[in-house]
Amino acid sequence: MRLLLGSLFALAIAAAVGLGTTWLALTQGMAYGGVSIGAWTAWPKSGTPGIDPYARAVVARSGELPVGSGDGVAFYARNDDEGRPLDGRCDVVLSGITPQARYWTMTLYDSEGHLVANSVQRHGLTSQEIIRRADGSFEIMIGSRARPGNWLPTGGIERYVLVLRLYDTPVGVATRSGRDAPMPTITKRACS
């Protein structure tokens, strides 16, 4: 009898640990197998048949579709370069250049991947429509108040995610560092 109870107890603990760690892994977005450059992380293998089981489970649970490697690569940023979470009530500046790509888009989402309502219903910018300096570099102001130049509104949301998607790009599974893929800096300015 004691042996049976002990075994059931051990099984219950195992189930709890197993399911608990699965839930944690899927909801905290483990950066397993990703390539991180500055504040940006990509999982290029997720665009290939070699997508790992964790990424597959995340995809199955969320309903998103990973970008195929023959299409492009997606880089995600949830924090600025200092590691602080991106806050839509503050002004954040993206500055610099992107890796080579035929086109790229920069889109702002909430933590679950929904677009954020704002006064101008603008949700992203593309490489074609942004204003650049003579050397090709650019600045994008991200905040709740309209700015001249490149402005991406946040609608005042507390936490957001930036997704930079490079389309038709040499960046992929072989990319290791900022030398292969220079990414823009993310700097927090004033908060209102």
Binding site: G18, A57, E64, H114, V116, G124
Partner: protein
């Protein structure tokens, strides 16, 4: 240790048990083996999370059980991509208009068994046509056309209106 086994088991089982994965979300709004335009994402409503709003999206939800599929889409002004996913959203192939190199992206989609059954002389002429092999009988072809500026989204949608996906049989 047992906890580890449960953990891995649930991670591996999740894709086959998912009810809110992309395929399940698209199934009610897409007939099989035909191209359907997908509503653009908005803050209130989106078919899938993390959709890129700078693109017009169309989907061909495919079923190869009756035979191979023919797919085509004209190349657009800016950027067009065609991405292939298994029933559990594994991205097994993707091509964009530059890699296609012509005015149309045209291909045949079939299972490995169907490809092996192609008559011998067909394999020779197949050298100049693109054959994509699907690991699963059902899955998704996702066609995206870029609007480089928001005002060009309607043109991007029109570019996808000529996409075709149909069973060969």
């Amino acid at each position: 240790m047992l906890g580890g086994i449960v953990h891995f088991a649930t991670v591996l089982l999740l894709p086959s048990m998912a009810t809110q994965d992309a395929y399940s979300r698209l199934a009610p709004m897409t007939p099989v083996n035909a191209v359907t335009a997908i509503a653009p994402p908005s803050p209130e409503k989106a078919v899938m999370p993390f959709m890129d709003p700078a693109f017009a999206w169309s989907v061909c939800r495919y079923d190869l059980s009756e035979g191979p599929l023919k797919f085509s889409v004209p190349v657009s002004q800016a950027y067009t991509s065609v991405s292939f996913y298994t029933r559990t959203e594994v991205p097994y192939y993707a091509i964009n208009d530059r890699a296609a190199g012509r005015r149309m992206i045209e291909l045949d989609l079939m299972t490995t068994e169907q490809r092996n059954e192609l008559p011998e002389n067909e394999e020779i002429t197949a050298a100049d046509r693109l054959i994509v092999e699907s690991p699963t009988t059902t899955g998704l072809i996702v066609i995206k056309s870029l609007a480089p500026e928001p005002g060009l989204l309607q043109a991007a949608r029109s570019a996808l209106a000529s996409a075709r996906c149909s069973s060969v049989t």
